[in-house]
Amino acid sequence: MSRIADWLDERTGYRKLAHELLDEPVTGGARWAYVWGSALTLSFLVQAITGFLLMTVYQPSATSAWSSVWFVQHRVSWGWVVRGLHHFGAQAMVVLLVAHLGQTALFGAYKKPREMNWLLGLVLMALTLGFALTGYLLPWDQKGYWATRVATNIAGSIPLVGHALQRLLVGGDDYGHLTLTRFYGLHVALLPALTALVLAAHVALFRRHGVTPPEGADPKKVEPFYPRQVGMDLAFGLVVLAVLIGLTLREHGAPLDAPADPSSDYPARPEWYFLALFELLKYVPGNIEWVAALGLPLVLGGYLVALPFIDRGSSRALATRGKVLAPLGLALLGAVALTNRSLSNDSADPAFQASRKKAEERAQHASKLAAKGIPPAGPLAMLAADPATRAPQLFEKHCASCHRLGDVGPEPAKATAPDLSGWGSRAWLAALLDDPDAPHLFGSGPLKGLMPSFKRPPPDEAEASSWKPLPEADERALLDFFEAQARGDEAKASAGEKQVKQRCTTCHRLDGEDPLDAESLAPELRGWASLAWTKAQIANPGGGKTYPAGVMAEKLPGHMPAFERELEPKDLDLLAGWLVATAPKLAVARSTR
């Protein structure tokens, strides 16, 4: 063994190299305070290895990026582990960077003759943030897409160069394939190469000047780098790795939002380390937001660059440097305060929580669909072809300005058409029989006052004297009948049908037969809320299959329009099918009278 080592040493001189690497004198002795730099280097190694592994699956294109990341997360063996390590490794690097910078600043390690190394460290920090910004977009999910759009729009708002810079980054005017390939190229080739180069220079310079022991350390006490400092560095590196593994296991990898959808609304938030900047933007008028988003970090960066040249005294004692370090402390405090404010604003905002919940449901649904296979046209095409995704979108677009369903649509006070939550169910019909003109039913639309209540006496005293409430047994029969209609069962010759003929057909149509009151606008009751009835109603409410033509009259402003002119037949089928399946399961809104 030693003969082989001798042979190798004669030809490579590795022993001298190892000696230089390992026995570098650590003035003042090994310290835990020195672990930050090596922890960063080790984390960079973790990022390089996991990053390479992700590259073996990832595809940078607008139609396949999300799919390939989904595949890593859900199909590749240990894919979620590798992805989680990369995701949390990136965040660990930001934390370690701040710690490393803080330790260097506190120890005064930027002072002569180490100014250049301080500057190289700042370059490494900028590169790391570059990694974070470019990497966030790559999954091409809602989160990365919207956050990066905001970031590139800020870049675009810089006077003079902004537009060109934005086009350069985005690869044109629109987000797409080229945006991804550009960000990917930066993330996996240019930034790693620059980082490796600058890191090598940073470490070489550090070796040249050695550690900066704190004021008061014994300069005569010198210890070799190996084994005690190496042991400390490694021990801390292992702790960091253990934290990464812990976070990865807890979160089962890293989050993946729904596929990027330019037509959707999304509560975009950047990664937590940019939240302070994000919060700051809320207090800056739009036309000068680049001043806050880019100017402020630039001022801070400029101060960091200038620090070794401002603080040129020979003393490294903290007491004498309070003034020069104060701006950094203030910036850190400000960032913490803004971050905290952003987080607490969001957690106290029900609208944000609701849209966050919606986004998460969409993400889960997309993931479930992806498990069945993603078409070559990509995950958005997959979602567009899926009724459970498309139908609610159609409802929101075409119905929700008047009708409410669940928590979608106008506030009950502002609705101009019946609340459809529970529509087709017993409970909805019971509420209608009780109070048809309740604000959440027909009370706020053009059909107000046309149907009498079966449970409440009429306001007219003469009529009220002869009025009797609907007996409970008859109500039960009626509800049975309507529940059956909604299910698609005609319930012919039932007790309920008898009740309908006795109590409703003065105004309502049944099986197309005109009511006694030929002028009545009341709808067909056979098949009420069934799929066919619903389809006919959406296509043309006045088509005669549901309501008579009279409901479309101009003297009834705010009546429901015929959607057969706006909706493709297949979308109409999709919407009706989904509504019939969804609405009866929702809880009926309570009367607000």
Binding site: W78, P227, A235, P375
Partner: protein, 190 residues
């Protein structure tokens, strides 16, 4: 580069840089052991996921029956090459109606012989040769009889037969692939 590369011998050969710290061999030994074990643990924590990650995993689903041609379209004694089209599952993408490969079909009466057109030698596409009297591989000149038997050339086995059946006048083939270059037939992706 690795911390544990320097052996004890080297340490003794080198000038002692510590002047004020008294060397404590037992403590040093413990530290060296920790560094070696910790370094291995760190490397292991990265190598293990990497090895698992790169494992390509299961196959694409293996054999399945695919309808490929009308029985009437085949002329007895004249082998025809027919494309096999079906759903392709490639990692995360599922594509309907893709050409998956091709087979040579020969009819005798109601029976159909299907032979994979992939050469069992190195996978080139087999064509008719010798004016339709043989099958031949254009790459390394393996020759096969019309029933698929290997006749000459480097192919380690005859052409791979695939099960067929006739349903409602349509020929269906149980499409599958075998590993190339070996005398036995080992199915791929099953």
């Amino acid at each position: 580069m690795l911390p544990f590369m320097a052996s004890q011998d080297d340490e003794n050969a080198l000038p002692e840089p510590t002047e004020t710290l008294p060397p404590d061999p037992a403590r040093r030994r413990t530290l060296e052991l920790f560094v070696a074990a910790g370094g291995l643990a760190y490397a292991g924590a990265l190598v293990l996921p990497a090895a698992r990650f790169l494992d390509p995993g299961g196959g694409s689903g293996g054999a399945r029956w695919i309808r490929i041609a009308k029985l009437d379209a085949l002329v007895e004694g004249k082998p025809a090459r027919v494309a096999v089209r079906g759903e392709e599952r490639d990692a995360f993408t599922v594509t309907a109606d893709v050409t998956l490969g091709s087979v040579w079909l020969s009819r005798s009466g109601e029976r159909v012989l299907a032979l994979s057109s992939e050469c069992p030698h190195l996978g080139c596409a087999i064509d008719l040769a010798n004016e339709g009297r043989n099958f031949g591989c254009p790459c390394h000149t393996s020759r096969f009889a019309l029933d698929g038997k290997a006749e000459s050339g480097p192919s380690p086995r005859g052409m791979d037969p695939l099960p067929t059946r006739v349903v409602d006048g349509w020929i269906e083939v149980e499409f599958r692939r075998y590993r190339q270059g070996s005398a036995e037939r080992v199915e791929v992706g099953a």
